[in-house]
Symmetry: C2
């Protein structure tokens, strides 16, 4: 029934084949399909019929090549781990905002491996993405300096660029951590266990800095005795918390520096007779039901901001300076932080 058409053979039909089948030139077929320029109604119809018959689909790769890199609609996102709700919500906010402007998101996970990040960045750049959003795990970003010259917009999220001037959307980690620490100190805690992620990460160090400011202002100098770093997953965090609580004297309060660590801490604390007070950085999915006090913020909002900065670089007035947007956090007190130290003030 169906005649053998030029498509058989695996390769896709090209515009030239559509043109041949409808008896017009390639350019006319192109016009008929894209709707640009003048094409006779009858011709247009014939071309569309031919295209349908062949299962024609324009080749975006060829189009991009011809039109030049500035025409690409692909925006790359490089982040640590899509399975982490922080990143996935960031990606969601970013994607939505981009789509409303005709851009598409392509994501890649580094799993906090600097080498992979470098490699993925290269791949995306070679693929001529229109712009790049990066939650970087690298210590420096000099290698990207050359790209800016070629007009590729960058936006750093969650972690700032180092050795490179570029737009960024960051959290006010320091103020958030300070506020949390102050709250615990005000409740009389003097031994506050702190569990953090990879110590080389900016967010970790920034949060530690805020914490330090608050506790040192309260005259606590031995805080580092209760600090455990490099707990990168839930299981490691759970172990770290158990270890901290097994010491003598044990901390009377806990500050967990991100969502995974807080989750690990909650597991470690389950069934504990006299659990320490707890505040976690990042909101948890069911944090309200569990009564977990947190330093909260909105990852999707961060994604939307990243999109805005990026769109402004692409389409807005070419403002040269690198803008840093700092999103504030909010201390949300629920039950978990309201357990006073066992022996009262100074205990």
């Amino acid at each position: 029934m169906t005649a053998d058409l030029p498509t058989s053979g695996g390769g896709r039909p090209s515009l030239a084949q559509v043109a041949a089948l409808s008896g017009v030139s390639a350019k006319t077929a192109s016009r008929a399909l894209s709707g640009e320029g003048y094409v006779a109604a009858r011709t247009r119809r014939r071309v569309h019929e031919a295209a349908d018959r062949l299962g024609y689909r324009p080749n975006g790769v060829a189009r991009d090549l011809r039109r030049g890199a500035r025409a690409s609609t692909l925006v790359g996102l490089i982040s640590g781990d899509l399975a982490n709700p922080f990143y996935s919500r960031l990606a969601s906010g970013l994607e939505r905002e981009l789509r409303m402007n005709g851009l598409q998101l392509i994501t890649a996970s580094t799993e906090e491996n600097p080498e992979w990040e470098r490699q993925l960045t290269d791949t995306l750049l070679e693929r001529r993405v229109r712009a790049l959003v990066i939650a970087s795990t690298m210590a420096r970003h000099d290698h990207l300096a050359g790209e800016r010259i070629h007009g590729i917009p960058f936006v750093f999220v969650d972690r700032p660029p180092a050795g490179l001037s570029a737009d960024a959307v960051l959290l006010d980690n320091r103020a958030g951590a300070r506020q949390a620490a102050r709250h615990l100190v005000a409740a009389g805690h003097r031994r506050i266990g702190v569990v953090g992620d990879l110590s080389r990460l900016f967010t970790h160090r920034d949060r530690i800095a805020g914490f330090t400011e608050a506790v040192e202002a309260a005259g606590i100098t031995d805080w580092a005795d209760h600090l455990l770093e490099d707990a990168h997953d839930v299981a490691a965090a759970e172990r770290a918390v158990r270890h901290l609580l097994g010491r003598t004297p044990a901390p009377t309060a806990l500050f967990t520096l991100n969502n995974r660590i807080t989750t690990g801490a909650l597991r470690a604390l389950r069934g504990h007779a006299a659990p320490p007070a707890l505040i976690g950085f990042d909101e948890l999915d069911l944090g309200d039901l569990l009564g977990v006090s947190v330093v909260t913020h909105d990852p999707e909002e961060m994604g939307r901001w990243a999109a805005r900065l990026l769109l402004d670089q692409l389409f807005g007035d070419a403002c040269e300076s690198a803008r840093h947007v700092v999103l504030s956090t909010r201390l949300l007190i629920r039950d978990s932080s309201e357990r006073p130290p066992p022996h009262g003030i100074g205990g």
Copy 2:
């Protein structure tokens, strides 16, 4: 200091420019940079120097065009909403497995809008992705039939293809729901409230089917009186549950058909004097700590399976038949389901 090089002007340097600067032909420059074929050590060095000086980066778009669609390393994922942990974990499992095979993931969210899905599918196909993984929100997929002929591998996830034969990775929704319903029935519940997502979705209907089998086998015929559908977000689910519990007689148990709905139910139940028994479909992030009984499964595993099917279509023996992998679920009993109906059996 730095001389004006051919790059100035915004456009990126091309291979030809690198070749010109190093005094060789384009092909030699290509060989030197890609490492294929024979190039004199001295020449290679000269070419690399020129490339570095110009900030050259190979144009992947041109390379893809030249090498043909089959050389692309991009795999598209179309899903409902990246912010939903189910999808983001699926994406994570998929991405990891793909990367290990030199492929890259490009994601797009439909927000359960069939029209957007169609549009996004077209865009990705035009971009000549190597393969497509789809958690489809559409009722039929005839429009993709033509693509298969052109050799584009498809893998459907979570929801099966309709009107098209293609690989798929699915959950055993029916068995999972049946098991949950049986458990509640065995505990003496006769009025079980069910809250579901969009009623047109396959997963919803499959889960309802399983539930129905179990309750009808127990002689319960009025189950539909306690069914509320189309609760697509947490807030809608919370309202639905409140509404269900406000009726007289109220259900003594609740079966929530996905993670968002379970979350909404938990919010509605907070502080409730005599909460109904509860089982939710999908694991929750802190479900163990909250004691929520669930029908559990592993979204990342689903992603990995999708990758495997896809890789097999790409590189394995061309097995023609459409394979359907069905992943089983597990009923995880925690506290929330162990509240007997108030008035004993038959209550």
